[in-house]
Symmetry: C2
Subunit: 284 residues, 2 copies
């Protein structure tokens, strides 16, 4: 169902982390499945905006009429991998009235006093919405594991808890699209350095970003384990090479388009008599 | 501070409902302050997108660094006046990660069991955010008054309660931009009729829209009273003629741009030593 003007294959198939997937073998500067160069990727992104916006309006309309379907995009990545750009350039094309964005930062004391899924449940999309998680419950098996923020057996327990949570959401009508933006170590260094060169980007830099960077290998191991344990049939992971921002954006856009197309939605049938309403309106 | 390429005057001044303002005297098909025709309005809107997005990023950056400022756009109007288009075409230009959208529909039983401001408080923007209320607490003095959904003395009480609420928000750092989209009665009839002609728009039509239309004069009176009682110095109302969608959009965009410019924000000074971080990063 992918767009063959720009794609040699369906990113939904090409980018999925299947059993046996090894993160360390995946180049971060590749552009799998896309036919052209940067200019083509930018054109494809611009072309895709109205397609995505149209599908989202259809989802929203169905939600209003009692359909239980929704879509949830989960974004995970190392710092500077481009989550913010995806939110702005891909999600930004949809009507804000039908999008529910949730960014998950360092847990608050209230959040820490609950199970790790508590704050996540509060932000899942309603029927008809496209939800976006900018970081997510996966932080609890990523930074949680790398920095030993919970006992080892609790971290172990979480993979199963996440799979059960996502199965519940899926059964209730949510299509979950989980994207790991896969960034190269050198590319991250460049991007962090460029934030330190621009007065209007200094606010995006945090010394803690370097602390996390120093644990790069630990994070790659934690991501590998996350992919192995939680890339399920219900809710597979997609690993998107992210050194080229234009590729990552158009690939995530296409993943959302395909996810929405697969719902095969139709404009709802009105629960009123159209001709009767035309008469009432004419007389008003 | 308005953009004089397109504007003969500042919409922040031109569109404000001052004491003595009479809604019935305002044409709904005017384009006050704007120099050109439809094509110019569309070009101005496109030009303004990056300006608005840039100002919003600055607000967001300041919010992250402890500034308490935020902006809240309140949208009120008769059905089909174009609230949805404003959300999509004006708000949609900003990064969804910094925007908080809240649509207020018919209150739920839980909402009705609380004071009318309860559900509104839960949705006010955080520091750094641009909040959008698609309908708002003003419904409680509009449909609330027209349909006698509360005793007369309770409706009366609400104007003062709203002013106190908005003063509290303003003092805490929120700039409130209240917009009434002012639509003509005939134009509404056309727009409702066109929804009944298109299979992909039938879901937007609700027979209750005609019921409300039949109370047109009652609503105009309720709006007039709302403007008189709640257009304060802190939080003035702007009445935007809405028969031309392209005008309403560019006018609301300009109101937001001016509101953000008036905050006179600067990129935050980093709370870390930039040179030290460059060294740490180089070694990483």
């Amino acid at each position: 169902m992918s767009d063959d003007t720009y794609w040699t294959g369906d990113p939904y198939e090409l980018l999925r982390a299947e059993p046996g997937f090894r993160l360390a073998d995946q180049p971060t500067d590749a552009t799998p499945g896309f036919k052209g160069g940067k200019a083509d990727r930018e054109k494809a992104l611009a072309d895709g905006e109205s397609v995505l916006a149209g599908l989202q309006e259809l989802l929203f309309a169905c939600g209003r009429e009692g359909e239980s379907r929704s879509v949830l995009l989960v974004l995970q990545a190392m710092d500077t991998a481009g989550k913010g750009g995806i939110v702005s350039h891909v999600i930004g094309a949809m009507n804000p009235g039908g999008v529910h964005y949730a960014g998950f930062g360092k847990p608050t004391p209230e959040e820490l006093a609950h199970d790790f899924l508590w704050r996540v449940w509060r932000e899942v999309p309603k029927a008809g919405q496209v939800g976006v998680f900018d970081r997510s419950h996966y932080e609890d098996v990523l930074i949680g594991r790398v920095r030993n923020l919970a006992p080892a057996d609790e971290i172990e327990r979480r993979y199963g808890a996440i799979n059960a949570f996502e199965q519940e959401l899926t059964e209730a009508g949510t299509t979950i699209v989980k994207v790991m933006l896969h960034l190269g170590r050198d590319e991250q260094k460049k991007r962090l350095a460029s934030r330190l060169e621009r007065p209007d980007k200094l606010w995006k830099f945090n010394p803690a970003d370097v602390d996390e960077r120093l644990r790069w290998d630990g994070y790659q191991d934690a991501y590998q384990l996350m992919l192995e344990r939680t890339s399920t049939e219900n809710a597979p992971w997609f690993v998107v090479p992210a050194d080229h921002k234009s590729y990552a954006r158009v690939a995530v856009q296409q993943l959302l388009i395909v996810a929405l197309q697969r719902l095969d939605l139709r404009w709802p049938t009105p629960n009123y008599d159209v001709e009767e309403q035309k008469r009432r309106l004419a007389e008003s």
